[in-house]
Symmetry: C2
Subunit: 248 residues, 2 copies
């Protein structure tokens, strides 16, 4: 296996960091790696905000509930950004109506998400660990206000990154026959023997791991996720519209 | 620079391939790399469909307008998938209502998009080249029918991958001061000198490159994108709702 495959296959999320911050050169390298990733129609429809102000990190800690982010070596907010491209266009030149569309929102989401994964991989190759945080969407409006985000931008993902101070076990992934198909979708039933075997594997993983041992199957994990109160995420659509997306 | 950073920094989209198909082992390695990438709340909310049937590839070629995809060494469709997790849940156990939410749709989009970038990077480390295709959204319903996709799934991105038969120049990215900020968003104006310099850089790139030379600036490219008829994408929202997303 080549070093990049070894890096990709060794991924785990890191939530405990040493107190060593990232250097400016390391941050620059991570952003440069993100910039070289694919971008939809070469439109570069995202921006990256480094959050270094402790008071702002405390707000993000409160929004996400992940208080350990304040101890990370660095923190990025990955932003969908159609605002910059709108600014490029002379007022008389064209209509910018399609920047408000679902199509362009998705393009910005692709760009920002691909850039996030590029930073995760680049960081891991440099000995850094990270956790992607969808939980900034618990209160996207508060993040928008915190970072003074203009219309046609949206804070999509947080990324805590730093020098790892833990080495967690890797969670076993679904067997490929349950998630990789050829020429058409294969429907799964709950009594599929491959799934039953996978549930047992997840049970063994949670028994064997060094910390936070618990009784768990993948099925039970999914049921727990479904029962989580989605109330705090119900405002995402309203916030997107407030930012100028999906308004036609 | 370590080999993974070298791989990430060397990315370019590849649209011309030799006639050498990927081996089953190579496809397996790419899917395994995707599986090890981060997944939101460990819910693995995506599936991958390999399209090998020439008749189905011809349909995708028609949907995307990228007829060269039929010559790629392999073709993946990356699918948002909340259906599998819904199937795991006994009918009496819980409500699956939140699988229909924007929150869970976004989680599935994150998972599928992150997995796509992991395959791009894994492939490049193996000497393969690829192009991500958002253009399957030109007619998402046709792709759904083609691959027999069940409710709570959505075909998000195509990925053509194979052995490169071209070595295109790399497009220069935005200067970092225009897209990486600290503690808050920095608004851009169209006469920003950094932007003017970047526009000149893009002009030089299009003059210098080996093929498809043209007169172009980044600003002009963005204006062209805005003027593209978005009509064929207007059905994305309807198709998402038809698949059971965003229906409450």
């Amino acid at each position: 296996m080549n070093p990049t495959l070894t890096t990709l296959m060794a991924h785990r999320s890191i939530r405990q960091f040493t107190d060593q911050p990232l250097t400016a050169t390391e941050v620059d390298t991570l952003v440069t790696a993100a910039q070289h990733a694919p971008t939809s129609t070469f439109s570069q429809q995202y921006s990256i905000i480094s959050v270094t102000d402790p008071a702002k990190l405390a707000v993000l800690s409160d929004v996400t509930g992940h208080h350990w982010l304040e101890q990370a070596g660095h923190y990025f907010i990955m932003v969908v950004d159609q605002y910059r491209n709108q600014q490029l266009v002379p007022a008389t030149a064209t209509t910018t109506a399609n920047l408000h569309s679902l199509d362009k929102l998705l393009a910005g989401i692709f760009d920002a998400t691909i850039a996030t994964e590029a930073i995760v991989t680049a960081g891991e190759s440099m000995g850094l660990g990270s956790t992607i945080m969808g939980s900034i969407l618990n209160d996207a409006q508060r993040v928008i206000d915190l970072l003074d985000l203009p219309p046609l931008t949206f804070p999509l993902l947080g990324l805590a990154i730093g020098h790892p101070d833990e080495q967690p076990e890797q969670k076993p992934r679904l067997p490929q026959p349950l998630m990789h198909f050829t020429n058409g979708y294969q429907r799964l039933t709950a009594d599929d023997p491959t799934l039953v075997a996978y549930d047992r594997l997840i049970t063994d993983y949670y028994h064997a791991r060094g910390s936070h041992q618990r009784e768990e199957t993948f099925t039970h994990h999914i049921i727990s996720e479904m029962n989580r109160d989605p109330q705090n995420r119900a405002t995402i659509l309203t916030t997107l519209q407030h930012q100028g997306f999906l308004v036609d």
